[in-house]
């Protein structure tokens, strides 16, 4: 297959980062060519000032060395500038006469330093501070000359000035405004900064506008608009940068201040994209690194055909890189109409902190002297979170030892409680108070906390307790199936049995569901309960199944699916591997991955290809997508292992063959190890078997996921038959009494190990459990085979409608 030609113009941080992201997604998609005007591999431009300040060397700031380009088969042409783009023929032309074809073209030409259009700006000794060449020149100059003037009191100017100071020069910083770094700091912070820099030996000429650079061939000084002059034998212009858009403009690409791009970083011309400082997105040209990286990532996904994120802009923050001065700034940091702010000004320690608030949301912050809260604040600004009432200024830190409050009380308001959805303590507490929330479920519906993995439910409950005190009573909190009903699982199951309800719709209808057709929580739950109660007669309802269990494959972030064929006990054969390899090649499977459960996962398969892939694999479904028995992981066992006391592999295979396709309230993972070294990790499985001399230990309720938990020893038995019997009874009891989506780890804790033992060790009871288990197992058919043989289902569930475009 011929690879597509990808050309990158500009060998800098933004463009090369995008290439890295592309390589991460798919190394083989593109033949990549990069043109860079500078004669170096990609380096970290931001760190040039630290090179000048003597903290690092030029070698240290190289981000991708020559070898990286070679290793990734990238054609790199440095010291070569693209001078023309032919967008019709899709060609680029360089100043060395080279012509390159492209299928996709990325423009990442960055920016150019702005040189003041004043007389004398072309004299020797006048330079910008933008690239390695400038940096090397400044270091050379510092050896020969004494007096430096930096025009521009912004970030770059101050960093350059500090560098020249370190190189032993006298430095004057000329700034047109009254305050330094006025685009990042408010007047108070700016004054503190000036004071600190003056202490370091820098001199400032504020509110001075340069009119002319004087001297013969070489610079000798500056004259200002007010008529005053200053001597100089080196002038550094650091008055700003301009997006480098000439090439794009000449090539007919829409350009405003920067090259105009949409949320996919597409320019006005098809197959041409722009990222980095040269791009203008929603009217903003970014000159800082974080946004450029975000753009690179979005563009990489776009180019690799992943239906991924869009770029919607960034909240930027800056940090001045001058040793001994800590400055941080983010967002809208100036007080204006409609904003209020919280300020801490500690003149004694030279610390100033300010956050700006509008509509109860933090929109900006400035920190001077102590920037340790910078990240946290930026996070809060980016998330646009409400600032809670308890975000207060205090003179004394609360000392932790005198408090006996719970951990939740000690948590900072901006600390994240729900990591999946990024919900903080502050947000949760505010919602509890303002909306009068009383249950974990209400908090979930209102704030998203605990909505994804549910790992933070306990913390949310504690926060409820902490916020509303005695009003929150865990015991009265009845767990309903979802907010469509006020009934609990037990009540629903009782009703289904007593009224002999047979369909999801019937259950909702008869039991007075608030939403006629339920929701994504109760429908799959009811579908499970019905199939558990009526294993032989209940017809699985596709429309009440989550996509994975409807299509019998795992949906991935980009809308493709993954396929895991069954390999009993994690044992495979050369023949199976050959078949899998053939299928993977035929369907261009982008990734083949070994799973934690000792299986082979084929990732990135299109929905429409699934039935064909299954047919050609001709292996049973591995159920990697299902709330069902997933895998039985095994160690090598005594057949080969010198420590093995039992044949764990064979028992694993037998268990898996016995229990495969068994639907359960949530996924069930099992393992069999042949000795207590536990190479199959039996201690953290729903059912984990460990071989000991003369018998087997059965552990239950282990979990290696969100609710990390070591399994409890249920019992020790002597024979493989007993293992299979006890495991079967345990799973059937779990099927009958657990809430849908309740893992065994939670269920064992809720029901109690003693109760479980009582039920399954009672001989009569166990027999009945096993009879019902058998019914469920007999009714289960291999879903892949069923679909492969049923054209109608393929049509209904797997086929897209394709409409030819002919208008």
């Amino acid at each position: 297959m011929k690879r597509k030609q990808l050309v990158l113009i500009g060998n800098g941080m933004a463009g090369v980062r995008c290439i890295e992201e592309i390589l991460k997604i798919d190394r083989d998609l593109f033949e990549i060519t990069i043109f860079g005007s500078e004669p170096y591999p990609n380096y970290n431009r931001i760190l040039l000032s630290t090179v000048l300040q003597g903290d690092t060397s030029i070698d240290d700031i190289t981000m991708n060395d020559w070898e990286w380009y070679e290793k990734n088969n990238i054609h790199l042409f440095v010291g070569e500038t693209v001078v023309k783009i032919d967008k019709e023929q899709q060609l680029v032309f360089t100043d060395k006469g080279r012509v390159a074809e492209y299928d996709e073209l990325i423009i990442a030409t960055g920016s150019k330093p702005f040189i003041l259009p004043i007389p004398g700006s072309d004299k020797q000794g006048v330079t910008a501070f933008r690239d390695i060449k400038d940096c090397e020149m400044l270091m050379e100059y510092a050896k020969k000359y004494k007096k430096a003037v930096v025009i521009g009191g912004g970030l770059l100017g101050l960093e350059a000035a500090r560098g020249l100071l370190n190189l032993g020069m006298e430095v004057n910083v000329v700034h047109i405004w009254e305050h330094l770094m006025e685009r990042q700091l408010d007047p108070t912070a700016s004054k503190l900064l000036q004071r600190e820099m003056e202490k370091q030996g820098m001199k400032f000429l504020l509110q001075k506008e340069t009119a002319e650079i004087i001297g013969d061939d070489r610079v000798e000084g500056l004259r200002f608009k007010d008529g005053t002059e200053i001597a100089a034998d080196l002038v550094v212009m650091a008055v700003g940068i301009r997006p480098n858009v000439e090439l794009a403009r000449q090539s007919g690409i829409a350009v405003n201040r920067g090259i105009i791009v949409n949320d996919y970083l597409e320019t006005s011309v098809p197959h041409i994209y722009a990222v980095g400082e040269c791009a203008e997105h929603r009217g903003i040209v970014y000159g800082l690194v974080a946004p450029l990286y975000e753009q690179g990532k979005v563009l990489a996904e776009k180019l690799c055909g992943i239906k991924g994120r869009t770029y919607t802009g960034s909240v930027v923050s800056t940090q001045l890189k001058v040793s001994g001065v800590d400055v941080f700034s983010a967002g809208e940091f100036m007080d204006q109409e409609g904003t209020s702010s919280i300020k801490v000004y500690d003149e004694f320690r030279g610390i100033y902190k300010k956050v700006v608030i509008r509509d109860e949301k933090m929109i900006g912050a400035v920190l001077f002297g102590d920037t340790s809260d910078g990240r946290k604040l930026l996070d809060m600004i980016q998330k646009n979170e409400n600032i809670s009432e308890s975000f207060q200024v205090s003179f004394f830190r609360p000392s932790s030892n005198q408090s006996n409050k719970s951990m939740t009380a000690e948590m900072a308001d901006n600390e994240v409680v729900c990591g999946c959805n990024g919900v903080t303590k502050g947000t949760i507490c505010k919602a509890i108070v303002e909306k009068g929330l009383k249950t974990v479920e209400q908090v979930r519906d209102c704030t998203n906390a605990s909505r994804s993995c549910g790992g933070c439910k306990g913390l949310v409950a504690e926060l409820l307790e902490y916020t509303i005190g005695e009003e929150f009573d865990r015991s009265v909190e009845k767990e309903t199936i979802c907010s469509c009903t006020t009934l609990s699982r037990e009540e629903v199951i009782e009703e289904i049995k007593s009224k002999n309800l047979k369909y999801v719709k019937e259950v909702m209808n008869v039991l007075g569901w608030k939403n006629e057709e339920g929701c994504s929580k109760c429908r799959p739950a009811l579908n499970y309960y019905l199939s558990m109660l009526y294993p032989t007669e209940y017809q699985d309802e596709y429309e009440s199944r989550f996509v994975n269990e409807r299509l019998h494959a795992n949906i991935q972030a980009d809308g493709t699916y993954s396929v895991v064929p069954r390999m009993y006990g994690g044992v495979t054969t050369a023949e199976q591997l050959r078949k899998i390899a053939d299928v993977a090649e035929k369907y261009n499977v982008p990734m083949i991955k070994l799973t934690g459960g000792q299986r082979i996962d084929l990732l990135g398969i299109k929905k429409e290809d699934l039935p064909k892939v299954w047919a050609e694999l001709d292996m049973p479904s591995g159920y990697a997508y299902a709330k069902a028995l997933r895998t039985v992981k095994t160690c090598v066992g005594k057949q080969f292992c010198r420590f093995g006391t039992q044949d764990s592999t064979q028992l694993g295979i037998d268990l898996e063959k016995k229990l495969e396709r068994l639907n359960t309230p949530h996924k069930v993972k099992m393992a069999v190890s042949a000795c207590p070294r536990n190479c199959a990790e039996s201690g953290i499985k729903d059912v984990g078997i460990v071989g000991v001399d003369g018998g087997w230990e059965i552990y239950v309720g282990g979990n290696g996921g969100t609710h990390l938990r070591a399994g409890d020893l249920l019992c020790t038995v002597q024979t493989e038959e007993e293992v299979i019997e006890i495991t079967g009874a345990f799973l059937q009891y779990y099927r009958e009494s657990a809430n849908y989506l309740e893992r065994t780890s939670k269920w064992v804790e809720r029901v109690g190990l003693e109760r479980i033992r009582e039920v399954i060790f009672d001989v009569d009871n166990r027999k009945q459990l096993l009879v019902r288990l058998e019914e469920a197992l007999v009714a289960a058919k291999d879903p892949w085979k069923e679909i492969v043989e049923n054209k109608e289902i393929q049509e209904k569930l797997f086929r897209d409608l394709k409409v030819p475009v002919n208008h």
């Binding site: 909505r451 057709e517 799959p524 996509v547 949906i555 897209d800 409409v803």
Partner: protein, 101 residues
């Protein structure tokens, strides 16, 4: 504006979405229990999820990736999430489905 025939009504099962590809464009087409047919842009505003594979309940659908709840009628994402998907007008004539693009 273009009116495009995307298929026959009997090809569209109730409460099971269909992904419709029109050139590079992707729509998610749904036939509700009451036989109303809705078409929305097949892209969840959250992480770009394939909405056509979501669970359908009344006039709402749930994105298969992170369970965002979206109203098919007006495209609005339901609280606590926020956002909107594009909706398209659907007409049924002689058992054929037409979408206004």
């Amino acid at each position: 504006m273009a009116r495009i025939e995307v298929g026959a009504l009997h090809h569209l099962p109730k409460r099971i979405g269909k992904c419709v590809k029109i050139g590079h464009m992707e729509l998610a087409l749904f036939r509700l229990s009451n036989d109303h047919v809705y078409a929305v842009e097949n892209r969840c505003p959250h992480r770009g999820g394939d909405l056509s594979q979501g669970i359908v309940s009344g006039e709402f659908l749930f994105c298969p990736l992170h369970d965002w709840k979206i109203c098919m009628r007006d495209g609005n994402v339901q609280a606590p999430d926020r956002g909107c998907v594009k909706t398209y007008k659907v007409e049924i004539e002689n058992e054929k489905i037409y979408v206004q693009l």
